[in-house]
Point group: C2
DNA sequence: TGCAATATAGTCACATATGACTATACATAC
DNA sequence: GTATGTATAGTCATATGTGACTATATTGCA
């Protein structure tokens, strides 16, 4: 559902072809927004079938022809509705990637601490990357801001975990 | 990868059949850990094929026969390795469910605010539910703790968003 | 007693998502 | 001048994940 919302939202501001939409998502939204190229193309196809989008084939030079999609009136209605529904909803994010913490007591600190330090470095790098993104023009400030808030909260938590392991 | 880690971890403390594992995950890990029944069965099959698990068929009363899985030596090695790898890694969580925030300026506050309030209520309910879970015996304290930390951070963020919209 | 709901245990068809791939153009270095 | 990388544009086979379903037993309760 939010995948459609995202694509429709981008098309609200201007017509685009799949490749461009993918660029937008990769460039201006952080690593927290995960919507892969191949999915984007499927979504575009589906939404065109449903009458939310129209497209024109475009041949620029000798590059592969591309489909430039534009949002229709029906698409704009759908966008509104998706937006309202999405705002009213709250689904928990998947933290499956963090189950390892639950098994920390199965490892001696000498083994786990260096790993946790590596983990911390990756988190810090990700945070820095996202902070940088936020300063670029064209970035979606709200979305990036949320990611930064989240990552800082994650860093706080991780430092707590490391402290606990050190003290054990 | 973390899905295997989770299942192996549960089997480290005792033998179990698929249904039991599913119960564990649904009862003792919060809503943040999403690993559905059908996936669990597939994982068990795969890991048995790979020699990480063995199983015995068990017939209790007239209920469907069930496979009781136990972790092997190879499985324990794999668990160690997965645990170390997982600890050393940090992959961003998917915040696609939050793209709607990026389009808030496309709605008048009269429309968006009630929706944001609904969202807040769901978040608060989820937080309460997770807090309750944490007090039950058998819950994985670290994992639940992380979820609580995350959800509180989310609430802070959401309140900031609501404030911003009110002031606009 | 009867029947609706829930617990037990798992399968399967289908939906969704991803990496690897195709193909062309252009720039850069060697 | 030719190999190497990367930007453009998108497809497709395969991997992954999910809801809906089967089938039986037990419990609650009207």
């Amino acid at each position: 559902m939010e995948d459609k919302l995202l694509v429709l939202g981008l098309l609200m501001s201007s017509e685009m072809h799949g490749y461009q939409i993918n660029e937008m998502i990769e460039m201006h939204l952080g690593t927290g927004i995960q919507l892969k190229k191949s999915l984007i193309y499927k979504l575009l196809g589906k939404m065109a079938d449903d009458g939310w989008l129209t497209f024109t084939e475009e041949k620029a030079g000798k590059r592969p022809t591309r489909r430039v999609y534009a949002i229709t009136a029906r698409g704009k209605e759908a966008f509104q509705q998706l937006l309202l529904d999405s705002l009213a909803d709250y689904r928990p994010v998947d933290l499956l990637g963090h189950v390892a913490e639950g098994y920390l007591d199965m490892l001696p600190p000498e083994l786990s601490l260096p790993r946790l330090e590596q983990r911390r470095q990756k988190l810090v790098a990700l945070l820095q990357e996202t902070l940088d993104l936020g300063t670029h023009p064209g970035s979606q400030q709200f979305v990036i801001g949320h990611q930064i808030h989240h990552l800082k909260s994650e860093l706080t938590w991780l430092d707590g975990v490391i402290k606990t392991v050190k003290e054990s």
